[in-house]
């Protein structure tokens, strides 16, 4: 009966209750959706870090990360590889040789980390091959020669292997894509000009187009002007085992694009045999072993096992290598909970206000309830239930709307290409696919109920302080 009365009381003043419910709905939706978007960004970043850059566990000598000495090789590599393979949870192992050097092209040079890889094994263990930009070649395809290099887009830009040119063909393609010919006509003065960076191209068309046109067609123009010179070469120079300068011209077999600018700007992948030949490193010698695990969740369990098994080496998992990312991953649920507590605390003020009004309006009725024998516990329960119903209806509606919107945007994605430069500098994708775990909704439900209960305390105390005689006398 108390529950039924409390529910009916919620709908006594429909407008007021619906206003509070709408406020809770909007608050919950906005925060859940924002968290889902942030979560997706973090999940994508972790996924990209593990599957494209780091894998789960890396093993090298203790001095390798701080010293660029090519002789920091792993001793007894076969034994180490065997230990890794036999460790429960490890599914795949590969070795790499890694040298620091300079990549040069006619228009620029950059410091890079050149990694010699076992191509077939890397294809199985990483998804980097899938990040190949179409039209830039292949990931060490069948026709690839030994002196081929797979490099990042950022490095390609720095070396000006990628340029921006608006040709007559690209302007026609823009019209085909729906860009008005009035816009492409105004871009004609740029036809044939070479821009070494995207920024320079952008500055050029900013002078010719209106802000509205730039906003609408800027991305299409940049994509149309993107130009890669097939068969470009890059000179890689580094030191060999004897400390002599060595190097060679490498043909670029493909360019990859990830969400991590730093990784793109500093990574060059080449076939291991060629790097061995140039550096003089013997067969079977490695600087680093990379281990892949069955599940990402096993990382914390397997790492200490390997550390104990390989005491003379540095065993680091992706969380230890990318500490900031690991911290976010480990504390994400706590961060979400704190965020939601703050949002719900703000919403609770609205609920307290509404409940207080409801109590003060019903002074006489509460006096009557007390007079006829409704005890303090039941009055408190009734008011608390009203508050919980307000929170829960608003909260569940907010969660339902969030679920629907997250479901749709998870499928369609959210395009933040406008901010890609900033996001990718920190390794985050400009395309978000919002996602959030079911466990978050369970935590949120508990928090919403707690908000309802806490919001009822002050109004309920006010109700309990009423003297039935005075309450019955007053309006």
């Amino acid at each position: 009966m108390i529950t039924s009365i409390a529910w009916k009381n919620v709908w006594r003043n429909r407008t007021r209750s619906l206003t509070v419910i709408a406020a809770v709905t909007v608050g919950v939706f906005a925060s859940v959706f924002a968290l889902a978007a942030i979560n997706s960004s973090i999940v994508q970043r972790i996924d990209s870090a593990v599957n494209e850059e780091l894998s789960h566990i890396q093993v090298n000598t203790k001095e390798f990360r701080s010293s660029s000495d090519i002789l920091n090789i792993i001793s007894e590599p076969d034994k180490v590889a065997e230990t890794l393979r036999k460790t429960p949870g490890v599914t795949d192992v590969t070795g790499r040789i890694i040298v620091r050097g300079i990549a040069s092209a006619p228009s620029g040079s950059a410091g890079v980390e050149i990694t010699g890889i076992d191509i077939e094994k890397e294809k199985q263990m990483f998804t980097l091959s899938g990040k190949l930009i179409p039209g830039t070649g292949s990931y060490f395809g069948a026709d690839t020669k030994l002196n081929s290099a797979f490099i990042g887009e950022k490095l390609a830009r720095e070396l000006q292997i990628i340029r921006y040119i608006l040709t007559a063909e690209s302007l026609t393609a823009l019209v085909d894509k729906g860009v008005p010919s009035a816009v492409t006509d105004r871009l004609k003065p740029l036809e044939g000009q070479r821009f070494t960076t995207e920024k320079k191209l952008t500055e050029a068309y900013y002078r010719l187009l209106t802000p509205k046109e730039i906003k609408k067609y800027g991305l299409a123009i940049r994509e149309a002007a993107w130009s890669y010179r097939e068969g470009s070469r890059v000179i890689l120079s580094f030191l060999d085992v004897n400390g002599n300068q060595t190097g060679a011209a490498y043909r670029i077999c493909g360019i990859f694009r990830t969400n991590n600018d730093l990784f793109e700007a500093t990574s060059v992948f080449v076939p291991m045999e060629e790097l061995r030949r140039l550096t003089g490193l013997e067969d079977g010698v490695y600087h680093r072993f990379i281990a892949r695990l069955e599940e990402n969740d096993m990382t914390d369990r397997v790492t200490p096992v390997l550390k104990e098994a390989l005491p003379g080496l540095e065993v680091m998992n992706w969380k230890e290598i990318q500490v900031d990312l690991a911290m976010i991953a480990d504390y994400i649920n706590q961060i979400y909970a704190i965020f939601m507590v703050l949002i719900l605390a703000a919403l609770s003020f609205g609920i307290v206000n509404t409940m207080l009004m409801a109590v003060l309006e019903r002074t006489r009725e509460l006096g009557m309830l007390s007079a006829v024998g409704m005890n303090r516990r039941r009055i408190f329960l009734m008011i608390m239930l009203e508050s919980v119903f307000l929170s829960v209806v608003g909260g569940f509606t907010g969660m339902a709307v969030s679920g629907i919107v997250i479901g749709i945007t998870n499928h369609t994605g959210i395009n933040l290409v406008k901010y890609s430069e900033g996001l990718e500098a920190f390794g985050y994708s400009a395309h978000l696919y919002p996602t959030i775990g079911a466990d978050f909704f369970i935590i949120l439900t508990v928090l919403i109920v707690i908000t309802g209960i806490l919001s009822a305390v002050y109004p309920a105390r006010k109700a309990l302080q009423l003297n039935p005689v005075e309450a019955l006398r007053g309006e």
Binding site: M1, I5, K8, N9, W11, R12, R364, E365, M368, L369, S370, A371, V372, G373, M374, N375, R376, R378, P468, V469, L472
Partner: protein, 231 residues
């Protein structure tokens, strides 16, 4: 058998610096089946006395014993349970719960007392029929006239079979016809269920029906007359 015993009861209020004796040395008793009215001018202490009898307020001095309970010895929480178990209240402004139907209002106190549903529904039906509202089970208070609402309030007060009914100016807001109907019903319930009714009123129609008229002036009982209206 005495249902209510009031022994030398005083109730004093301290409004600012003035001491107000709302009830001033009242000694009274009510027996089972009484149909009594407390009358007197405004401020004579009628409502205060009713509140003291109903356990809504505590006397400053003196003793009130209701159904064997010394009210001054009960804790506030015990007083609430006492009211629920022993006293039926009918208020001037009806005070029904607006979100509940007539039947739900009547069944409300029984549900607080955890009556089984079937028993509760049977009693509700019986009482709504007794007050002439058998066809208004599902009407909300806002869909009923003042007289009908007060009849629902009477049914609610009677539902858990209390020791007595305290009715504070029950006809004050009713037109003549509704007031007469309500009084007919209360008289009938008094007669058939031997339910004790104690009214406070200014209404001559109520006084005319009463079998006992207690007059208060300045918080004191100035007369206590028994009549033979029933006969």
């Amino acid at each position: 058998m005495n249902v209510v015993e009031i022994n030398d009861v005083y109730k004093t209020y301290h409004d600012t610096e003035v001491e107000v004796r709302a009830v001033n040395g009242v000694t009274l008793s009510f027996t089972k089946g009484d149909f009594a009215v407390i009358v007197g001018p405004s401020g004579s202490g009628k409502t205060t006395l009713l509140n003291l009898i109903g356990g809504l307020d505590q006397p400053t001095t003196g003793e009130i014993i209701v159904a064997g309970h010394r009210l001054s010895e009960l804790k506030p929480s015990e007083l609430i349970d006492f009211r629920m178990e022993h006293v039926g209240f009918v208020f001037q402004s009806y005070n029904l719960i607006p979100v509940l139907t007539a039947a739900e209002n009547v069944g409300f106190i029984m549900s607080l007392q955890k009556w089984p549903k079937e028993k509760r529904m049977a009693r509700t039906g019986e009482l709504l029929e007794a007050v002439g509202l058998a066809d208004r089970h599902n009407s909300r208070p806002s869909q009923l006239s003042g007289g009908q609402q007060q009849r629902v309030a009477v049914a609610r007060a009677l539902a858990p079979r209390p020791e007595f009914i305290l009715a504070d100016e029950p006809t004050a807001n009713l037109d003549s016809k509704s007031a007469e109907t309500l009084l007919d019903i209360m008289e009938k319930l008094n007669r058939e269920e031997e339910m004790t009714f104690i009214f406070s009123t200014h209404d001559a129609r109520v006084m005319k029906r009463a079998r006992r008229v207690i007059t208060l002036e300045d918080g004191k009982v100035v007369s206590d007359e028994r009549t033979n209206h029933r006969e």
